[in-house]
């Protein structure tokens, strides 16, 4: 990864760092939740596909953490495994435990659509290393989105219990999904400098316009909902448990070189 230009002003660096951390933590945490399906997905082929997608997300998180580590003179593994649960900045959508298959499909759909909107913007970032990474991520995320859309349609078209569970999950996750566009303290700087070429409110609107027509026929009218100010700092016991899991190996031998 390319190191940040040395003349990057402190305020600019902080804005970039906050943005990178939020996206990286989203990818990292959804990757870990979805990896919980390994071995127990509905069928063998789906097990492999879901596990592979989960690995892709963790791979994206790694690339983003490395970019962040270059910027802040830190270490990607330390950022991923050395922080307490409260230091994570993923959106509240990712605070929930895996749930049933319909719940995971609903969450993946909400996440992948939001991620697509976000990556489209980040690919235009004025920070060249981020723009390049976002463009690379989009190539894989396009496929992730197709997979999530295929399952959303499948469960909806099946009717009965499948459709009901899917509809329930969408309604339950809807308020938390908005938080993928929750405000960042340094967002004005990021937008002003073109690091984030569209502001979060604009991205949020674009995402809602895209998902409402797909979700409302399944889940019924979805209420007006906005991202919350603390949308990226709320933590739950579900997430604390997951954090304990994914840091357990790193904690077993602190400071070890793996």
């Amino acid at each position: 990864m390319t190191a940040a230009p040395p003349d990057l002003a402190v305020t600019q660096r902080d804005a970039l760092a906050e943005l990178l951390l939020s996206v990286a933590d989203d990818e990292f945490v959804i990757g870990f939740w979805d990896s919980e399906w390994t071995g127990i997905a509905p069928m063998l082929e789906e097990d492999v596909a879901t596990s592979s997608i989960a690995q892709d997300e963790i791979g994206h998180a790694r690339a983003l953490y490395e970019l962040l580590a270059d910027l802040t003179d830190d270490d990607a593994d330390r950022i991923a495994y050395g922080r307490g649960a409260d230091a994570f900045r993923h959106a509240s959508l990712l605070n929930h435990a895996r749930g049933d298959w319909a719940f995971s499909v609903a969450r993946r759909y909400l996440y992948e659509t939001a991620d697509a909107v976000r990556l489209e913007a980040l690919a235009r970032s004025s920070h060249a290393p981020l723009a390049a990474l976002a463009a690379k991520m989009r190539r894989e995320e396009t496929y992730h989105l197709m997979h999530a859309e295929a399952w959303l349609r499948r469960l909806a078209d099946a009717g009965g219990d499948s459709r009901q569970r899917l509809a329930d999950a969408v309604r339950r996750l809807w308020p938390d999904a908005q938080d993928l566009f929750a405000p960042l303290a340094t967002a004005d700087e990021a937008v002003g400098r073109g690091i984030l070429p569209s502001d979060l409110a604009e991205l949020h609107r674009a995402w809602q316009e895209r998902v409402r027509p797909a979700l409302e026929p399944i889940a019924g009218p979805l209420p007006d909902a906005e991202p919350r100010a603390d949308g990226r700092t709320r933590r739950t016991d579900d997430f604390r448990w997951l954090h304990g899991e994914f840091t357990s190996v790193a904690r077993s031998q602190e400071g070890a070189t793996w």
Binding site: M43, L44, E45, E46, V48, A49, S52, Y143, M146, H147, A150, R154
Partner: protein, 103 residues
Amino acid sequence: MSTSPAEQVYEVFRQEAEGDPMVHSGNVNAPDDELAVHYAREFYGRRGESHRLWIVRRDAITELDDADLLRPPFDRSHKRPGGYIIKHKLEAAKQRAAGEAGE
């Protein structure tokens, strides 16, 4: 895991590089064509080993395995190219071509 009634078997053919022959690689179970594409990609393409995949529903394949047609009971040795000594004909043709060029 067994194949539920809704699932079907898809045969997967793989091409390593443009122009290479499509080689049968194996199969996947999938509930529909769309997911079959995803699963074939995961099983036969996720390591970057494939240039192209063909994913074909097994029941779309017309099979012929009738021994009466494929291994007919009568002598078919006249259908095989054996028995011709092509080497001498080839040499003669080369000489002829060289002679014509020299004229």
